[in-house]
């Protein structure tokens, strides 16, 4: 059966007297579970990456190695504030569409996107170039780890921004309502995951070298 | 009729038993007898450390035999039941249905065999293995001698504290503890002389050591046991254990500078060696040859093989190797010298005199 969407609500299964809903959200939706397990595998990847960071660190007599200062904290803390605050509008968007509020959905996603993009731009345009004056990924393992860990995280931010853009286009097309919005839930889950990972990146890469 | 059918199937079951484990065991025993005494066997230990490992081997081996025999018995029983059931079905002309009766001895058997007995056996083996680990871990007293063995692609550099430097052959005094400091000049190698000790890797940045304490004189073969590239297969090492007085004499000779050439051709050979690319890679102590890319040749003729066990130290193979090492050991770091025959002969004369 090709083409055309039709209103899906509940339908018969064919067993006498049984009807079931045709849409799921949250744990009733396959896509939600798919995102849960994707996050599980990505979380493992980050855990291993940070474990590798600490492994190399504790092999090293000095960390950061000589001639390199422990990272300055002002800019990363500002970036943290921006990134973490982006979770609030995303959360509002998700809770909004659960109740059918199209406005909150659209503006929440948009604001979250802007804050996330600000984080990305600050990293790429300010923080990294400043850091590159002091050391590069080719300088030593410290430099390689710094840029690899922050780079991995940044690539996940970029993916999140792309997914958010896609969701926003669909939101403007009116694809979501209180019964069907699992894509928004999935994006929100992913985005909050990216924020939580940042906590560990902040503590490992930026804060811990000071101790 | 029924009895005859049953016997036929028993015969088939017996044939199954013979078809499986028995020929395999026979083959195994046959292969065992094919062992040559030249093998650097874990089962012919020549040191206390290797003896402890051998003991652990036999413990786990016999335990394993019991387990495998037990499992085999079950499999054979299953096959026999299968034959019997097939006979019954054939006789009755139809198959019986599914048997859903619970098997009361099933879960207890699984728990006892799989958890309790297995757990006990495994735990016991673990404890015994811990004791062996402990025994091999600590040095047996202060080492009488500490040497360095540096793994290199694809040969072994051996350095003694008195300044002796050799390659691919390690001499040690019988009955005295020798501590070997293991390192690598390039990739990961692994030092393994099965009859004397377990293996230990040579890893960049790691300070690994292994102990050699031979109980009797002998020539013990070892080989690199960590894949290290093209010629990993031809990285053999020999450990020559000799009585202490003999060892001391060897050590003194090895530390001495190179013997002077004893014939005119050997002298010519030396001169050629010193002025050509040979000296860029090899050291001959007492001459101007001080290269460090290849083995120290000061006493090369005192060794029994060249190229880490690839060729015997004899005129013919030595000449071939000097002319073009790539023939015997393709990919080795030593490029072909393609030296003219008379010059080659002179060089070989000189080298054969470096005892």
């Amino acid at each position: 059966m090709a083409g055309g969407t039709h209103e899906l609500t509940i339908a018969e299964t064919g067993m006498p007297g049984e009807v079931l809903p045709e849409h799921g959200v949250g744990p009733r939706s396959f896509g939600w579970w798919g995102m849960v397990w994707l996050i599980a595998t990505e979380a493992t990847l980050f855990a291993l990456l940070l474990a590798s960071y600490f492994y190399l660190r504790f092999q090293s007599p000095e960390w950061p190695p000589e001639h390199i200062e422990a990272p300055a904290l002002e800019l990363p803390l500002i970036m943290t504030a921006i990134l973490w605050s982006s979770s609030i509008p995303v959360h509002i968007a998700e809770k909004g569409i659960e109740k059918g509020h199209q406005g909150r959905l659209k503006w929440g996603l948009a604001l979250g996107w802007l804050l996330g993009a600000a984080f990305l731009v600050i990293t790429v345009a300010i923080e990294w170039p400043e850091t590159l004056h002091e050391f590069t990924p080719r300088t030593n393992a410290y430099g390689s780890m710094f840029f690899t860990v922050t780079g991995f995280h940044l690539s996940h931010v970029l993916v999140g921004l792309s997914v958010s853009a896609f969701a926003q286009v669909r939101a403007w097309q009116g694809a979501f309502d209180e019964r069907k919005h699992v894509s928004v839930q999935n994006f929100a889950m992913y985005w909050h995951f990216v924020d939580i990972v940042w906590l560990f990146v902040l503590l490992s890469i930026y804060v811990s070298p000071h101790f | 009729m029924r009895g005859w059918g049953a016997r036929r199937h028993q015969g088939r079951a017996r044939r199954i038993v013979f078809a499986g484990p028995v020929p395999v065991t026979a083959l195994a025993l046959l292969l065992l007898t094919a062992c040559s005494d030249d093998s650097p066997s874990v089962l012919r230990p020549r040191s206390e450390a290797a003896e402890r490992v051998e003991g652990l081997w036999w413990l786990t081996f016999w335990t394993s035999v019991v387990v495998v025999l037990l499992v085999t018995a079950f499999i054979v029983q299953a096959v026999r039941r299968g034959r019997a059931v097939a006979a019954e079905d054939a006789e009755q002309g139809a198959e019986e249905g599914i048997d859903t009766r619970p098997v009361p001895w099933g879960p207890p058997f699984i728990v006892i065999a799989g958890l309790v007995v297995s757990g006990a056996v495994l735990a016991g083996t673990f404890v015994v293995s811990l004791r062996t680990l402990d025994a091999l871990a600590g040095p047996s007293g202060d080492p009488a001698l500490t040497i360095e063995v540096i793994g290199r692609n694809w040969w072994w550099e051996v350095r003694y504290p008195n300044g002796a430097v050799t390659a691919n052959e390690i001499h040690i005094p019988v009955g005295r503890t020798v501590e070997v400091k293991l390192s690598t000049a390039d990739v990961i190698h692994s030092f393994w002389v099965p009859q004397l000790n377990v293996k230990q890797d040579q890893v960049p940045g790691m300070d690994n050591r292994i102990e050699l304490l031979a109980k009797e004189p002998g020539r013990y073969r070892g080989q690199c046991a960590e894949y290290c590239g093209l010629q990993h297969a031809r990285m053999v090492v020999y450990v020559e254990a000799e009585p202490p007085e003999q060892f001391d004499q060897w050590l003194a000779r090895e530390a001495a500078p190179a013997a002077a050439p004893t014939s005119p051709t050997a002298s010519t050979g030396r001169d050629i060696l010193l002025r050509s690319s040979c000296a860029g890679c090899h050291t001959v102590r007492g001459t101007s040859a001080a290269g460090t890319l290849g083995p120290d040749l000061t006493h090369v003729a005192s060794r029994q093989t060249i190229a880490a066990g690839t060729l015997p130290l004899e005129r013919g193979p030595l000449a071939d190797f000097v002319r073009n090492a790539q023939e015997a050991k393709p990919g080795a770091t030593m490029p072909p010298t393609e030296v003219a025959p008379e010059e080659l002969s002179a060089i070989v004369d000189y080298l054969m005199g470096l005892e």
Binding site: G14 | G20, T63, F126, S129
Partner: protein, 636 residues
Amino acid sequence: MTTVVEPDWKNELSAELDETWHSPPGLREWISTVDHKRIGMRYFYLGMVFFVVGGVQSLLIRMQLAGPDLDLLSPEAYNQLFTMHGITMMFLFAMPVLSGFGNYFVPLMIGARDMAFPRLNAFGFWVLLGAGIFMYSSFAIGQAPNNGWFNYLPLAGAEFTPGINIDFYSLGLIFLGISSTGGAINFIVTILKLRAPGMTLNRIPIFVWGELAMALQIVFALPALTLGAVLLTLERKFGFHFFDEAGGGDPLLWQHLFWVFGHPEVYIVALPGFGIASAIIPTWCRRPMVGYTYIVIGELAVALVGFGVWVHHMFSVGLSNITLSFISLASFMVVIPSGLQVFAWLATLVSGRPKLSSAMWFVLGFIMIFVVGGVTGAMFAAVTLDQALTDSYFVVAHLHYVLVGSAVFPIFAAIYHWGPKMTGRLLDERLGKVSFWLMFIGFNVAFFPQHFLGLLGMPRRVYTYQEGVGWDAHNLASTIGAFVLALGALVTMVNWYRSKQRGAVAGNDPWNGETLEWYTSSPPPHYNFVTVPTIRSREPMWDQPELAGGAQAPPEGGRPLTGGHVTLSTSLLDARPQAIVHMPHATPWPFYFSVALTVLFFMILVELWYIAVLAAVASVMTMVGWYWPRHETQET
């Protein structure tokens, strides 16, 4: 087998479902299909092709080692062959074929109409094909990976292997990881959410539990390999420092990352094999499995504890004794849950009424071979014995006993047990037994002598050995055995081909099986079942006579689900029906996406960065195309 009178309602339903699920044949459909059975068959066929390729590689290896100082192969050729043999057998044969059986049979066994993510399923296959082509293109330029499947540093670094060989390896494994991870997530969600109503946790077939355990391991183990490969690529191509001592790195970091993946990987390969045995034994012993609970616990425990023992691959590296002792203990303990399964199988075998079909012989062979591999594995748990025997031919013997035992023999058993369901034709039983005995005897002659070689001091990964060391006879025997083993495998392949041409028709349920794949026709229709059944037992086909007709009637719990391309989603523990889920129709976007990715990986390999960027953009666009809503099938 009794003849069944087809009720009219069943015919009507079949006709309606045929029309809903029908897709017109053609090239576009071939690229676009998302049917789990067809994808499963493709995984199976592609995996078996790589089995033959890996087998040829092993025969070349054995020919080179048949005698001392042979020069059939140059050292470089040999090193590439043994490396690719390992990579091929693990990543391109065992995992794909086992995924193929999983793909085909998990939805059938749980009473679902497809996997949870049919498009992801198709994508996983195309990526596997792309990754296989990617890795094998290395042979075309004579630069196949040549540092072993474990690829240790510093040897695999840019300094010692400057050639492109290792880039094929690292990028190829990242690429393959995408397929495996997607497949694993698919299995997990399918098994958790698509089971037929009434299939509570303790009614799930053991094979399905095995696939779940495998998939959970993949989700948590594969990131280690992916991470290692990414770090290696960054180091080799861009001069980063992770594994080089001079730059503050550590070669052991590679070993840790590799084996954190590598040890669970062997269980990823073994657990589906165990699951296959657990599917075959009850059917052919004509009784329910004894100790179901223990087997399930065993599978999950192996999957979990298997994450804690990776350091036992590094016992000779120079780590502290405390570390070695802990890992040794864990390595001894991990034997127990495997043992539980073995004893459950043995109990079932001797208390049932076994029928000695080819499938059964391969299962019996699997148990024997795996147990031998298991006891030598326990030997390796003892630290000093491991330090003596690791990196020698003893461990080559061990790994082949456990892997050929727990993967190859179950796969061949599955060919005989499930082949008729997949093709609709029975295989020749006589040929099956000939194949078994050739493989069993050939395998043991090939690999048993290798235990001796290890004890006699022969290291592994050597392209040749000297004469006079006492290794000649065992090596020759091993080579002969390898050829016998290969011949045995060939017999089954001939059998498969012949059976497809003119085998006897199998019918729905030729073996009187107990699980739901036997509930439907051979091969099943696109939609699998005329009605999705309600399950009331662990062995539904034996305990629910109303299933015998191939369609449980709606009044008895059967759900026709004719409102489109739909299946049922059920709750996690009790499998209560929760929703009707619209499944995607056939779509070519997964194929296009995988093509874009293949191009991207090739461009990164050869460092054509501008085209790589274009390929990346194309990848994003094909992903958008994939997710762009069409029909009512898109879950929003």
